[in-house]
């Protein structure tokens, strides 16, 4: 900057100015001042206390042959270290990259409306308390990566003798274990769904579809549900429970009980 301020005076100053001017547009390829002096492009700083070079030095600068690799600079007239401008085809931040990569749909989908916070909203059909942090019950995916389970490379079906290890005692599970299968937040979510539906006249595509299905299912299963409840009450009273849901239909209906 000092050179700029000094330079307005004479011809010598002009040469000094040009040097800096070129360096300004030169960018990263600028050699340090000492190197420039060695190449004969610029006067050595030792020539004077001021930054403006003497006329002789500037003449030497203009007459100096181009250094190796400076052919382009020679073609650029008084400017050296002139870099080529980046091509206009180069992709930069000046273009809307979301549009460029055709992500408008994704952007509108995720940023246009509120995405529900809970994991159970993303995986509504997944049983269990999935909204709780994985660290609570040691079920985090990260722990699976950090400490992979020690197991074989293949899965082999269980033989008859192996299956004897899975003989269970008759009777219901203790309450605290049963809680694993109960999903109290889901009921709350359903209410929330209803609330949001009343607020938003146009609900999102996928959740609305699933909601619709759920609603339909609920309607269809309502009388069945009541009947099943009665049956369960009877079962409890009799103390002679029937075979619990082995078939998928039975299992799914019992799931609706939960």
């Amino acid at each position: 900057r000092g050179q700029w301020e000094h330079g307005g005076a004479g011809r010598a100053g002009q040469a000094g100015k040009m040097e800096n001017f070129s360096a300004l547009f030169g960018g990263a390829e600028q050699p340090p001042p000492a190197a420039a002096a060695a190449l004969g492009f610029g006067p050595a700083k030792a020539a004077g206390a001021g930054a403006a070079p003497p006329p002789a030095a500037s003449a030497a600068a203009s007459a100096a042959p181009p250094a190796p690799g400076e052919g382009k600079a020679a073609a650029a007239g008084p400017f050296y270290l002139l870099r080529e401008l980046p091509g206009s085809t180069e992709l930069t931040g000046s273009t809307n990259l979301i549009t460029h990569y055709n992500l408008e749909h994704a952007y509108n989908k995720f940023c246009g409306k509120k995405v529900k916070e809970k994991l159970s909203n993303f995986l509504p059909d997944l049983p269990g308390m999935i909204d709780l942090p994985g660290s609570h019950d040691n079920s985090s995916l990260r722990s699976l990566i950090e400490k992979p389970p020690i197991c074989g490379s293949s899965f082999t079906p269980l033989t008859g003798t192996m299956l004897t290890g899975f003989r269970l005692h008759a009777g219901p599970l203790p309450e605290q274990c049963r809680l694993m299968h109960i999903q109290p937040p889901k009921k709350k979510n359903k209410h929330k769904h209803k609330q949001s539906r009343t607020q938003d006249p146009v609900p999102p595509e996928t959740p609305s579809d699933s909601d619709h299905k759920k609603k339909k299912k609920k309607k269809e299963e309502d009388p069945e549900r009541k009947r099943k409840k009665k049956e369960k009450k009877k079962k409890k009273n009799r103390h002679s429970p029937e075979h619990p849901g082995v078939g998928s239909s039975q299992a799914s209906s019992s799931s609706s009980l939960r």
């Binding site: 040009m18 001017f21 547009f25 650029a76 007239g77 008084p78 400017f79 002139l82 401008l85 930069t92 931040g93 000046s94 809307n96 990259l97 979301i98 994704a106 952007y107 995720f110 940023c111 995405v115 916070e117 994991l119 159970s120 909203n121 059909d125 997944l126 999935i130 909204d131 709780l132 942090p133 994985g134 985090s140 995916l141 990260r142 990566i145 293949s154 899965f155 082999t156 079906p157 269980l158 299956l163 899975f166 003989r167 269970l168 008759a170 009777g171 219901p172 599970l173 274990c177 049963r178 299968h181 429970p241 029937e242 075979h243 619990p244 849901g245 082995v246 998928s248 299992a251 019992s254």
Partner: protein, 136 residues
């Protein structure tokens, strides 16, 4: 195989697996001696289910999942929030960089304008080399 088909297959196997586990849970929650055969069947379904999921691995070897997504899932949060935040961050950064580029363009234009006043000859040469810059 198309990308969606690959995922559909995995999704289907996962859903079947989850459903089997759920049914297994129901059997176990109120176990009856007569349920033993059903339980054994479910246990073997679980093994075959795992085999099916494992087979899907071959089709999905080129899919990479950001580790940050697992953080969201582990915290019981919707992983779509990760996608949302990624897109928002990308757009914000895009806008920021665009702002910088536009400012630099304006600066260059002003600098050339001012330099032309002081060094008309040199700037004429410069413009001859560079060509006329489009206005910012």
């Amino acid at each position: 195989m198309a990308m969606s088909e690959k995922f559909d297959s995995l999704e289907e196997h996962l859903e079947k697996f989850v459903e089997n586990i759920r049914q297994l849970g129901i059997i176990v929650s109120d176990f009856q001696p007569s349920s033993q055969a059903g339980l054994n069947q479910k246990l073997n379904f679980m093994v075959t289910g795992l085999q099916d999921i494992d087979k899907c691995r071959q089709q999905l070897h080129d899919i990479s999942v950001p580790l940050e997504v697992f953080e969201y899932i582990d915290q019981g949060r919707n992983p779509q929030l990760y996608t949302k935040e990624c897109l928002e961050r990308a757009l914000a950064k895009n806008e920021q960089v665009k702002g910088k580029i536009d400012t630099m363009k304006k600066f260059k234009s002003l600098l050339i304008q001012e330099l032309t006043k002081v060094f008309p000859e040199d700037m004429a040469k410069y413009k001859a080399i560079r060509g006329e810059d489009p206005p910012p």
